[in-house]
């Protein structure tokens, strides 16, 4: 991808500055270069030769979480993250990417995940699960529904709880589904967002091969990033496979009265919309429907909710960058959430969960408010932890 390919979008920007509203990087950095307008001016200047590629250009162009808050308020609804991606692809070619991003890319290429973890440990999170109706697909085995766990819920200790909760709920309900096990590969979201299109294409090809080999009709994802990538970024052949985020899948099961809640959770919660679920795909109602279905749970909304939700700072490859500022997006969002004095900040994205949990600690509110994923709440409300059975599933080492 080159900047020339996105020149029409760059030229269409009228520099009105509306993109300043709700921009998580502007609230942090405070400079116009953090905004979409600033980035398009930088890109236009690169195109016209008024600016040359440099480490400083790279620094500014990596100050974007791809949250699409700018697109939401833009008079012309310009797809700014696509321009940033194109600009970053030029930086990648020139080797002008931050070190932590480079490490992430190397890991993704080498291990198939951005966490620098060996492939064979991808299913370690299953070890302590009890006997569940869960199968890891063998080579050419057919399946209707693949639960695509994702890299972060596979390797990150905290986020493994989301995957475990999803598996427990689906098993409890009796849904027939499978996982890819160690065969699962990164969806490529982070590689794509930081401009490594070649790596992304390779991952997409391999993942699609996997889906086709198992004749998958539906992919259910933990992460909104995987969900969005499969749904909107993969080649058209993928259109025959139904892609769902797990909140959509669970909401549907609630609608069909297949999920029955056995416990009351008398808690006040506020829901943080993940950008790649909400703004990217318009999935606002299903997560709320699930929360409102859980007996005893009270949902209170933040001012910035749904299409105006404020990014946690984890998208667009920013998850792999050092964040030390006192006004970084996750801290600003956590401060906004705790103003409502909820018992729990709930989200539906592994990146959001990690960022918000960290932020709550940094602002010293961890004793007052928990951070949880919707899946964990559903599991709490449906799953009776006291009735344990032996496992017949042996995860690979």
């Amino acid at each position: 991808m080159t900047l020339e390919t996105v020149k029409p979008v760059i030229m269409e920007c009228v520099s009105c500055g509306l993109c300043r509203a709700n921009c998580p990087m502007l609230e942090d950095v405070k400079l116009e270069s953090a905004t979409a307008r600033g980035k398009l001016i930088i890109c236009y200047s690169l195109l016209t030769g008024n600016l040359q590629l440099s480490a400083k250009v790279a620094e500014r162009l990596f100050q974007c979480t791809a949250c699409k808050a700018c697109t939401e308020v833009c008079f012309s609804m310009l797809d700014i993250p696509k321009v940033v991606e194109a600009a970053r692809s030029v930086l990648v070619e020139k080797g002008l990417v931050p070190k932590t991003i480079r490490d992430m890319l190397i890991s993704t290429m080498k291990y198939g995940n951005p966490w620098s973890q060996p492939k064979e440990r991808r299913t370690n999170w299953l070890k302590d699960l009890e006997k569940l109706n869960l199968k890891i697909l063998s080579d050419k085995e057919k399946t209707e529904t693949i639960y695509f766990v994702g890299c972060t819920p596979s390797y990150d200790h905290r986020c493994q709880e989301i995957a475990k909760s999803i598996v427990k709920v689906l098993s409890k309900v009796g849904v027939d589904f499978n996982i890819l096990g160690n065969e699962e590969l990164c969806c490529g979201d982070s590689a794509l967002r930081v401009g490594e299109k070649g790596l992304f294409d390779m991952l997409a090809e391999k993942n699609l091969e996997n889906f086709k080999r198992h004749h998958a009709e539906r992919i259910v994802t933990t992460s909104p990033h995987c969900y969005n990538t499969f749904k909107n970024e993969y080649p058209v052949e993928n259109a025959e496979i139904e892609i769902q985020h797990y909140t959509q899948f669970l909401a549907d099961l609630i609608d069909k009265e297949k999920i029955k809640f056995s416990k009351r959770l008398n808690k006040m919660v506020t829901y943080h919309d993940p950008c790649f679920l909400g703004r990217y795909n318009g999935v606002y109602e299903e997560p709320r429907k699930i929360l409102e279905s859980i007996p005893g749970l009270t949902l209170i909304e933040m001012d910035r909710a749904k299409k105006n939700s404020f990014c946690c700072g984890g998208g667009g490859g920013r998850m792999w960058m050092e964040e030390t500022s006192d006004t970084r997006p996750s801290l600003n969002r956590a401060r906004e959430a705790v103003e409502l004095k909820p018992d729990i900040i709930v989200t539906a994205c592994p990146f959001c969960l990690i960022n918000m949990q960290d932020a709550v600690k940094v602002i010293n509110k961890e004793k007052e408010v928990q951070v949880m994923d919707i899946a964990e709440l559903v599991k709490k409300a449906v799953y009776d932890e006291n009735k344990r059975v032996k496992t017949r599933f042996q995860p690979s080492e």
Binding site: C13, C16, K56
Partner: protein, 477 residues
Amino acid sequence: MGWERLEKIVGKENVILEDIDLLCYARDLTPYVFKPKAVVFPLNTQHVSEILLWANKERVSVTPRGSGASFTGSSLPRNNSILLDMSKMNNIKEIQPENFLAVTEPGVNVDKLNKHLRKFNLFFPHDVGSHAVSTIGGMAASNAHGHHGLKYGPIRNWIRSLEVVLPTGKVIRTGSKVLQSNCGYNLTQLFIGSEGTLGIITEITFNLAPIPPHKGTIGLFFNDLENAINIVPEIIKSGANPSAIEFVDKTALESVNNVENLGFPEAEAMLIIDIEEFYRDLLEERIKMVMDVYSKFKGKKFQVATKENESEKLWKPRLDIDIAMAKKKPGYREVGLAIADPCVPLSKMSHVINEIRYIFAKHNIVSGILAHAGVGIIHPAIFIDVNDKDQWRELKDAEKEIVDVVLKAKGTITGEHGIGIVKIPFVEMELGETLNIMRQIKAIFDPNGIMNPGKLALDVKVRDSPEHIAFQNYYMD
């Protein structure tokens, strides 16, 4: 260039000198590019005072900026100015609900202010198109006027008092915090709309209003433009007390209707009328008043909304034209130049709109006409391919003809956005000798001419200079 002095005043982190960052402050909605020498973030009035004292002594020009959302180039740093970004002076200093009064610093965003005011059941009702980013200081300096200006007027009607730093560094206070003051010249009004050419506003004291809980929107569709305009004074006379009467022409209506599948009827023109009331039955009564007038105009196509999402839908033809045109005319983008906001007498509106449409058709310019019809402000939304020199030339020709039509109709070239850079060639045509009086006033406050140079036609007569144009194929004046 004495940056150390600035760094000493505001701290090193608040003086921006990196070329790449400065470049990002060089643009707004106009075709102009003016890169500042430095961007400085003052944190308080004392900072502004010390900066101006230094700048005046060193003869460095200073341009203040809110969020840079101007349509006119008013906050672009001409003449190698330093840019004072006021966004970090963003404290809401005082709310006195019992006196319907607020005191804020200039960098407060109007939406954030209104969010804060909700707990008092009060609001600041100036919903300019860029309300999501607009600052109170920027709105005061450009005398902003929102969509609901028919009821609430321009911002100048709401400001009681200002704290202003003069180019000498002296801090003055204008007006009074009470509702009425007749104590001497009204300097408050002089600074409002002065676009930073006289001094820098560092504190604003202004009125607040109670929030009307009941709102309704009426969409009226017309088979001819004249009826859509002629009904406006009749609706005002009816006593329905609308807060907005907005006009949308056929092109704009059709474009948005088609692109967004809104299902509105085909029409030559549409009016969007907002009514805000404190009692539900009063709202219904007022809606009926409008419908009675409409029936006298033999109108049959209408929609009434009393729910927020329904109102939003009725407003779409007025607000979403850029989204629609981006899809309808790829490669085209909105440009305003000097004809983005003329204001004409209500009695001349249909004539002027028809003339504007004729002129655009003659010059093959893609446009939709929108208007704050209750006030007489016309917003031609103009879309061109900025890489096409012929289109720029045609637009410049059309611009002159439209200014001529507006002035002949006893209108003004700007009812809302101000002058900035883009309207400079036409200011003297409208103001005549009065412009010289303005220049004398400017000289009293700013004898060294350091405050926001190159604006309001005070110190320059030309707007275009080749080294400051963003587009290669722009057609110079």
